[in-house]
Symmetry: C2
Subunit: 209 residues, 2 copies
Amino acid sequence: MAASRGTRRARAGTKPVSFEQIESEAVKLFSEKTYPVVGMRDISDTVGLLPGSLYAHIANKEELLLGIVRQGITNYIDALEPIAASALPAAERMRLIIRRYMAILHTTRDQTNVAVNQWTYLSDDNRQQIVELREGYEAIFARVLDDGIAAKEFPTIAHSRVAVLAIIGLLNSTMHWYSAHGTLDPDQIGDELADLALRGLCCPAPGAG
Amino acid sequence: MAASRGTRRARAGTKPVSFEQIESEAVKLFSEKTYPVVGMRDISDTVGLLPGSLYAHIANKEELLLGIVRQGITNYIDALEPIAASALPAAERMRLIIRRYMAILHTTRDQTNVAVNQWTYLSDDNRQQIVELREGYEAIFARVLDDGIAAKEFPTIAHSRVAVLAIIGLLNSTMHWYSAHGTLDPDQIGDELADLALRGLCCPAPGAG
DNA sequence: CCTACCGATCGGTAGG
DNA sequence: CCTACCGATCGGTAGG
């Protein structure tokens, strides 16, 4: 009975906590349990602060989510945009983009999960910001696809937006089963998925009728 | 000031509320806002009951989710299993399965969304139940794929489980952009996705190197 | 199916 | 960064 509040005494002469630590723990927790289920007390426990002390480092819970989501998407845009803008044939660019996507997923899996699946918890203004970022992200894939069609590398596609969203959906879905600690390396999976997508964009399909 | 509790008087001589109504409204709300963010008061409001009255029809919040998720998956298993078990060539079975998947998605979109993305909110025992159901669901696709490889319809695949999960991931991802009210009909999209998947399983890919 | 209510937990703050 | 605390809301229940 002697330690009524002893559980909370995590900080005795330890180094001060940084914003980056808080954000990094929040990424893990949000990815694992989702934003609405993670309490500020969960976050403060993992970094060794009392709940109220978090607000010396962050404005509020939603700002934390916003930062994580925005950076999570920006990571992809910054890396994929130059590839899409390069002078290579569209099929090659698409392959490089898919491979690079898997590499980024491998190093920022939790953040990607939050960015892709949890931006919907943002309130109106912040969500609108993210919607625009997402459009920029989609545009990268659309550009390469359209280039490929224009250059006759790919056949004319009935609904090209469907193809773009299908490819993005395929890539994002890997998150749910691709385990970072597994034996499959990201380049290998990237190549297999690129094969899948590029075959899908080119030749006639079997089993019809 | 006269209507202090007047807002809550939704039921005056109306027909009694059924369990099915409650479940159906819960499906919509869970799909739209996710389980942890939907309060019992949100549900009771839409069916026109007071919060406590819900418990005359349901055991608790989680039982509601469990029922929705289980039926949401069972819908697919019941419809796809017979196709997988039929005597048709594997490529044809795969095409029929994908087409049927899109048809079910079209009629049970909200429930599918909840079943696919929100079973993780179940507590241990209930979640384990769903994990087993999901394995049965995956097995349907694995069976057709393996049959196709054995019959040399598909080439030997490095990681056949990757292919299964990629196809399921592709199908499930349609949920995020396929709007039930849109002009794209499910058969049409089903065919395009079947083309994508079946081409991916057969021929050599361009753009390599 | 309502009335009336419960303990627990939530995000966040004042003041130091 | 802690102490001490706040109002709001949560899922759920007893008793009728």
